[in-house]
Subunit: 285 residues, 2 copies
């Protein structure tokens, strides 16, 4: 099997040598496995087979998403309906990671999250909140709800804000939508300004190192033994690289040509899509 | 007439000398003249008389507000109903200043402002927008409206964002409310992030130097001949000082004791209220 497309850093003589030490693959989901859109979206050409080939090869495969508009169970159901053979226990998403943190630190959140994500917090005590959690709440990002979250936050002796991811915006069929990171910023506000609450959000999900480490622990791998494949240069590739993993960017999803000239983050490889990444990995055993 | 209360920098021997060169006074409105609240708010004790005394003294008096939830006319009506003898032509607010800028630069705005402010833009062409304007839109800061403003902004070849003021939050009878500056930040987003539109808003209103200069021009005064009196250390006092004016902070409205220990902005005087400021000015002719 040949690599269908491979450019610059991956193509340039011998740069794929590092693939030989790869024992595990972490896959971003939206923009790598499927494109979101009407009716939940559709699989990206060749990705269903690519996932199967990676799994059949003996590599350890895990999935890592910042999806917070659905419970992990519902989300995996959607992917299975598209044809992906994925089990819930192999999917890592911010909400379950946050629920663990809340439990460990005995925190009671005020939740500003999507209605469909709420079941993840069924067992969480939300009385007398001592922290604020925001996810991609979409239409629930109303002036009233933002004010309410802000009042809880500024009313705390030690304001504590968790953000499920920190994306800026994403594209849906009816246009660009502001993502959680924008509202995280709005709640963090400016520490220079006296009217500000001096808060820096704790981001749960990519690109948090803790989040990637949880996935590596589950794989029983060292960072240098794993590669992250994503369409998001900063949150997927950059985040993984900061943990000591390799990162490949696919030219699907939110990829933009300018990513390949980014001033501070450079992927270890750029490929057209997950099928091409899989070819590269499996031809360098 | 004695100064009723005067502290630290104003009280300390001879520090009020600069008041001798003052020929004009610029007054902030909300938090200095009145407190907002139920039914439009109420006058702060002694402020109606203080305004009258300043005007009767022969000093040139102007009013400078970042109010954007009402047209200037409606706003002045409200103040007159409270008992203040104020004429519209002496009141400077962001919307009329912005309308002048839009006309001069031939800009067509997409408006995300309060419904009650809309009449200020009656004569403004809003077809095929080539800039975005945000004010304190309050309940109109919905996810849908923010997305729409964002799409217009990011769709422009040269994204241009105007913000009517840059306040972070304010207090109303039913609690703290997020102000325009927070949503300005949300639209500006982070220039480091690749998913960002690299925009810095042009702030119209306090603390913009252009805005203060317009008021000074109307008064035919040099900056050193004027003093700004406000409850907002950064936007009133700091902004005026950066223009070469003096700035007095009143301990009403949004004043907080920590303001007097601010690391970078120090008022030329701190007084209990507008009546006390007026006493200080009129006893140093």
């Amino acid at each position: 099997m040949r690599m269908r497309t491979c450019v610059s850093s991956m193509a340039a003589g011998g740069n794929m040598e590092w693939l030989k030490s790869v024992k595990g693959v972490i896959l971003d989901m939206c923009g790598v496995l499927y494109d979101s859109g009407e009716g939940g979206g559709q699989a990206i050409h060749g990705s269903i087979e690519a996932v199967k080939r990676l799994m059949d090869s003996g590599l350890i495969v895990r999935f890592c998403t910042n999806e917070t508009q659905n419970t992990r169970e519902k989300f995996v159901q959607k992917l299975r309906a598209m044809g992906f053979d994925i089990s819930v226990s192999h999917v890592f998403s911010p909400a379950p990671a946050l629920v663990r943190i809340l439990r460990e630190r005995r925190l009671r959140p005020h939740l500003l999250v999507h209605d469909d994500l709420m079941p993840e917090f069924d067992d969480v005590d939300t009385s007398s909140p001592n922290c604020v959690v925001i996810g991609d709440a979409a239409d629930k990002f109303s002036y009233q709800n933002l004010n309410e979250a802000f009042r809880v936050l500024i009313g705390l002796e030690k304001p504590l804000l968790f953000s499920l991811g920190q994306g800026r915006y994403y594209k849906e069929t009816d246009g660009l939508k502001l993502d959680v990171g924008v509202f995280m910023k709005a709640l963090e506000v400016n520490t220079v300004n006296e009217y500000a609450c001096d808060v820096q959000a704790e981001v749960v999900g990519k690109p948090s190192a803790d989040f990637f480490q949880t996935v590596l622990n589950d794989m029983s791998l060292q960072p240098h033994e794993a590669v992250m494949i994503g369409d998001d240069l900063l949150n997927d590739v950059g985040g993984a690289q900061r943990c000591g993993m390799k990162g490949i960017q696919v030219r699907t999803g939110k990829y933009r040509p300018s990513d390949e000239k980014h001033p501070s983050v450079r992927a270890d490889g750029y490929v057209d899509d997950l099928a091409a990444a899989t070819d590269a990995i499996l031809t360098n055993p």
